[in-house]
Amino acid sequence: MSTPPILAVREASISFGAVRAVNGVSLALAPGERHALLGTNGAGKTTLFNAISGEVPLTSGGIAFKGSDISRLRPHQRARLGIGRTFQTSLTFADRSVEDNLRVAVMGRRGPRFGLRPWGAYRPQVEAARVSAARFGLDEVLAQPVGTLSYGQQRELEIAMALAGEPELLLMDEPAAGMSPQGRGRLVEILRGLPRSITMLFVEHDMDVALSLADRITVMRDGAVVAAGTPSDIRANPLVRELYLGGKH
């Protein structure tokens, strides 16, 4: 790789007591790359995400973002540097409207973080929230409480909220999980349409979604990386075929 990586995970290990959830994982993402993380249940994908976003401390190893070490920063500090994320199970403000959810999301990075004036004083933020809703067709349900949205819309809101902070690195933990085939198709289209100024690392169990979006793929099992390469490398990898295509030998 000629360009320096935007994200570099070096020999990362994470233990919960006796459980070693992540075991010496290294990973490098070039700017603009779409990188899929595959792996069986309990492989440590979510734990690795939590470590990159700062929720879980590394037991050993390091994480660098745009060349500087971030492994000691708190989650909100990493978010302000430009790391956005979605969660495996939706984490939204369920009793609030779509618009309110997106307003909070917009203000996380650009502020105001303690705004004490009425909303009228924050026109640009209010406008930005509407624009980010429109990207996902959520402008039609702007006033609805998030709890009343369809599952697919809630998943889209997850991503819209992460994007509202204009991140340079977007981490998505199973963005398409539980969505209908049409919903998946729509989501893939939207993600494809995002500019290359956003680097993406995403967990996806659906091989079709993963292969159609990713430039590079890393496969994890029991906390360790077992394969890495381009989609065609991965498709041809015997171990991956065994894991994903039902153990044919």
Binding site: D95, M107, F114
Partner: protein, 337 residues
């Protein structure tokens, strides 16, 4: 958009202000200066807890203690007959009391930042109890159990602020301003961020907010509101003693807030009214000692049968009356409000 006057009419704080202004017209001095003023003071202190719970989903047993920090600061900086502290001009004393109370609120938030639910209640109770032991055992500064006596509100433009009507006016202004501030916060980015914090703290952090700072700020604002109540309470009772910050006082504020309805700013004042009335009447009907039994029973009934307290009951009633009212209006050709 709704025209301004109509919006104002629906504003609950306006109703608090109007009811407050009308009260002296129909009630005598005892009711105004003693009963109603006390309702407003207790209501303002309970409002600090209502704010924490309704905005950020936080609970605290320390609000009486925080009000007490403001009260003791005011007492120590005002002329008193106990002969402790150092008297300064009253605006300075009040300012210092509000600052110290707010700092105490921030401290409570900072110390308890990692706790929630029952643990948050316990840690705030522990802080409240520590304050009680500090002031009751230290005789040099706080004069121990006897406290600081002979405190008086100042004169303002030749008006004695301790006289029933002026004092009531001051308490009403403080209560209305505090309630308006809480209602306003709910409609600002900060208020929305607090709601978000209560719903999904992990998400709030992932978006770039320091959840620690948000929480501490909420406790700071609650501290300021409690301090306003604490200053008035000290002037009202003319003294400051450990009794104002004991476990009883802490529990009472929680009872008042829950009784009135902890989800709405006006709940605090309804709860305070119920509390003060029960206190006055229970004492005349049964033993004064039995008051706790009565308030406890009422508390249990409210918790079991009216989750949102008295204000919740009123809202339910209004919802039932509204269709009927709309019907009447349709017949008489008036527009329903």
């Amino acid at each position: 958009m709704t025209p301004m006057p109509q919006q104002l009419l629906r504003h609950p704080v306006l109703w608090l202000a109007l009811a407050g202004l009308a009260f002296p017209l129909i009630a005598g001095e005892f009711w105004v200066g003693t009963v109603a003023a006390r309702v407003l003071i207790i209501g303002t202190m309970a409002l600090s807890l209502t704010f924490l719970t309704s905005s950020a989903g936080l609970v605290s047993f320390a609000q009486a203690g925080v009000a007490g920090v403001a009260g003791y600061t005011l007492a120590l900086l005002s002329p008193n007959i106990t002969g402790v502290g150092m008297a300064v001009p009253w605006p300075l004393a009040v300012g210092a009391a509000l600052v110290m109370g707010t700092l105490a609120g921030l401290l409570v938030g900072w110390v308890s930042v990692r706790s929630s639910g029952i643990y948050l209640l316990m840690i705030t109770l522990a802080m409240s109890v520590s304050l009680f032991y500090l002031v009751s055992q230290n005789t040099e500064i706080f004069n121990g159990f006897d406290g600081i006596n002979g405190l008086k509100p100042p004169e303002l433009f030749g008006m004695d602020l301790r006289a029933p009507i002026p004092f009531y006016g001051m308490a009403l202004a403080a209560a209305v301003l505090s309630a308006a501030a809480v209602m306003h916060l709910d409609r600002t980015p900060f208020g929305l961020q607090l709601h978000a914090l209560r719903n999904a703290p992990r998400r709030v952090a992932a978006l770039g907010f320091s959840t620690t700072l948000l929480r501490i700020a909420a406790f700071g604002i609650a501290g300021l509101i409690a301090s306003v109540g604490g200053v008035l309470n000290t002037w009202f009772s003319g003294q400051m003693s450990p009794g104002a910050v004991d476990v009883h006082a802490a529990v009472n504020l929680l009872v008042v807030a829950v009784l009135g309805g902890i989800r709405h700013p006006l709940g605090a004042f309804l709860g305070a009214a119920a509390f003060v009335l029960l206190e006055n009447y229970a004492a005349s009907v049964i033993d004064r000692e039995r008051f706790n039994l009565v308030i406890g029973a009422v508390f249990i009934v409210i918790v079991l049968f009216a989750k949102d307290g008295l204000i919740g009951l009123i809202q339910q009633l209004r919802a039932q009356i509204k269709p009927a009212w709309t019907g009447v209006c349709a017949k008489s050709g008036r527009k329903a409000v």
